[in-house]
């Protein structure tokens, strides 16, 4: 362990890598603070910077952007009630009322320190859990790997219970897109519609960038409620002084921080669930566990602590399945996975056994990021009005060009830029159809892993699908998947029945 840690320090503290990590923290915090730039988009926009890096430095850089962008999101959430990243949405519930009472500095202090604690806790969990999971994963066969990838999609679908049909369609569309090109077992051409360029399949990075960056800029083009420097000045952003709560206040939220660190990390580990789900889940859990639930939403530090601890705790969690199984824990992790695959890294359980420096470097990067970002975010909160003074008429097109470079440089192919443009338009159509872009991306990323493992398991178990899932791990995971898929339909019926019984009693 100590040797691994030293290896990680040696990688991150190389002058070039360390400078790029600091740059990533500043970039990530600014991107996160800007409404309309999600954490996934921030990681996607960081991709072109990694093309000249070695794979370990690339993951260090992208992890730093990811963690700091989640933290940056709290700035706009507290000051303007507009979450910089979707996972900061619950921060607005209590952060903004605090800002209105003139306690913006305190809310920011709680948000930043809790983000750091959540991030550090999850980094430690990642460091100690990933090798264990890797050891366990070595005994996994294709049926277990299929079950785990399937779990990612089923959990994502079940969590969006309001829209389960459309989320399922989106996920399956993603799986279908992943089948374009040659099939993974026998190389037979499928769904290319005669295009030679589609023979090698649909590249993930242009689609990811198109859906997350281009769609957002197109959406912002017609949006009238973009934040401006004037809004920031009116909110007194430049005069805000981040202050820390008293020791008594910290002690009052110690259990909130601990619970949300644990729950956020667990949610982050689940494939498909990410920082947004973690922060909403922890916020609602804390309202149920609190001695004064009625105060949530009125501007208490417990609410800010719950949301911000959880969303940063999910960052380390999301890296666990990526590093130990080669399966992304969320969309940002999917972008990182694409970046590693692009560099020829063989993801899977053997990665950490053959090249443990990926884990140690990611761990050290997360530790440094979670500490440094507190100070960077304090500075950025003060300079927020100046950052917003860059008009969107400049920022929007620059985002499109960064996205173009990111897509092109993947394979030095202009076809990928066209795919990015199509994916951007597809993202808009998805919004019209109320489909779920995150599910599409997860389907696309998991598609070939899912099919490849199912196909191998099918052959190994001589076409006996029942036998495939009779193995303990695969069977248990499939039961969890089925429960997750059925519960949104059955849950309300059960609740209604129990409710009636209670009323009768």
């Amino acid at each position: 362990m100590i040797q691994m840690l030293l290896d990680g320090l040696a990688v991150v503290f190389q002058p070039g890598t360390f400078f790029m990590t600091l740059l990533a923290i500043v970039m990530g915090t600014i991107f996160g603070a800007l409404p309309g730039v999600s954490a996934t988009m921030a990681v996607a926009l960081g991709l072109p910077f990694t093309y000249s890096m070695d794979p370990v430095s690339a993951i260090v850089f992208l992890v730093a952007i990811y963690c700091s962008s989640i933290t940056g999101g709290s700035i706009a959430a507290i000051l303007f009630k507009i979450p910089g990243v979707p996972s900061s949405a619950p921060t607005t519930f209590d952060g903004y009322p605090m800002a209105q009472r003139g306690e913006a500095g305190k809310a920011l202090g709680v948000a930043l320190v809790c983000s750091a604690i959540g991030g550090l806790f999850s980094a430690l969990c990642m460091f100690f859990l990933s090798p264990q999971l890797t050891q366990a994963a070595l005994s996994f066969g294709p049926s277990e790997m299929f079950a785990i990838t399937f779990m990612g999609l089923s959990i994502l679908t079940s969590l969006d219970s309001e829209n389960i049909l459309r989320t399922s369609i989106s996920g399956i569309l993603g799986l279908l897109l992943a089948t374009v090109g040659q099939d993974p077992m026998y190389g037979v051409q499928r769904l290319t519609f005669g295009s030679n360029q589609l023979l090698s399949g649909i590249e993930m990075i242009p689609v990811l960038i198109g859906i997350f960056a281009i769609t957002e800029v197109l959406q912002q083009t017609i949006s009238d409620d973009r934040l401006t420097a004037d809004d920031a000045e009116k909110a007194g952003a430049s005069t805000i002084k981040t202050t820390m709560p008293t020791i008594k206040e910290w002690l009052s939220i110690k259990w909130v921080i601990l619970r949300c660190s644990i729950l956020g990390t667990i949610v982050g580990i689940l494939p498909g669930a990410g920082a947004t789900i973690a922060s909403f889940l922890c916020y609602s859990t804390e309202t149920k566990l609190s001695k004064y639930p009625e105060k949530f939403g009125t501007g208490i530090i417990d609410g800010v602590a719950a949301s911000e601890t959880a969303n940063n705790a999910a960052t380390g969690g999301a890296m666990v399945p990526l590093l130990s199984l080669g399966i992304p824990g969320g969309n940002a992790a999917a972008v990182m996975m694409s970046a590693l695959v692009l560099k020829g890294v063989q993801l899977g359980p053997l990665l950490l056994i053959n090249q443990p420096q990926y884990l140690s470097a990611t761990f050290v990067s997360m530790i440094i990021t979670n500490i440094v970002m507190v100070f960077v975010a304090i500075g950025i909160a003060k300079a927020f009005a100046k950052i917003l003074s860059v008009p969107y008429s400049i920022l929007g097109p620059v985002i499109i060009m960064l996205a173009t470079i990111g897509s092109y440089a993947t394979n030095m192919s202009t076809m990928d830029v066209k795919i990015m443009a199509i994916a951007g338009i597809m993202g808009i159509l998805f919004r019209v159809m109320k489909f779920n872009s995150a599910a599409l991306i997860l389907g696309l990323v998991l598609g070939s892993i899912c099919e490849g493992n199912f196909s191998r398991a099918y052959t190994i178990y001589r076409a006996d699908i029942g036998a495939m899932f009779m193995r303990p791990v695969a069977g248990t995971i499939m039961v969890v998947c089925i429960v997750a898929l059925i519960y949104p339909f059955v849950g309300p019926v059960i609740k209604a029945k129990f409710g009636k019984n209670k009323e009768k009693a």
């Binding site: 049909l165 097109p397 499109i400 338009i425 159509l429």
Partner: protein
């Protein structure tokens, strides 16, 4: 109505794909004869069938939800088409598509300048001179940062004059 039309189009496209494009090359005999091999067409076919069922349900759901609503008529949809083509959203999409098409023949610098300049106008920047200067400055900055510093091989274009210009510019740099 647009939501319904998109769902119907997706349904029809999937039917077409299922009939003509699931398998586009002969499956090797060895695979066809192996009863324990998952045939290359099975997985995509299962996915398409699931999608067709779900989209059909979604179409029925939309029809039920929107039935009787004033804006949910084909006439209202047709009336809205000219508005859509004039909208910022459509022009934005068009600019992104044009930029992706001209990137190969005209190269990175022209494409970057074109997109920065036109998109800024679309986003309401009325100061043309400032826009020109900012677009040029950002184009050169991005070219220098990614093309020179990070050594990303940005496209120089296939049009001779533009390609020569890019090469000339690169020759000026150490």
């Amino acid at each position: 109505m647009f939501e319904l039309i998109l769902n119907v189009l997706l349904f029809l496209f999937l039917v077409y794909a299922a009939i003509f494009n699931v398998i586009e090359a002969p499956v090797p005999d060895k695979v066809q004869r192996n009863p324990y091999a998952l045939q290359p067409g099975t997985w995509p076919t299962v996915l398409i069938v699931m999608l067709l069922v779900m989209i059909a349900i979604n179409i029925v759901k939309i029809l039920k939800e929107k039935k009787g609503k004033e804006e949910f008529s084909f006439g209202a949809f047709v009336q809205g088409i000219p508005e859509f083509f004039k909208s910022k959203l459509f022009i934005g999409m068009l600019l992104v598509v044009i930029a992706s098409i001209i990137l190969e023949p005209l190269g990175f610098m022209v494409t970057c300048f074109f997109l920065l300049f036109t998109y800024a106008i679309l986003l309401g920047d009325k100061n043309i001179i400032r826009n020109l200067i900012v677009s040029l400055a950002i184009t050169f900055f991005l070219y220098l940062f990614f093309g020179v510093l990070l050594k990303v091989n940005l496209p120089r274009g296939t049009v001779t004059a533009l390609r020569n210009f890019a090469l000339w510019l690169e020759s000026l740099l150490p």
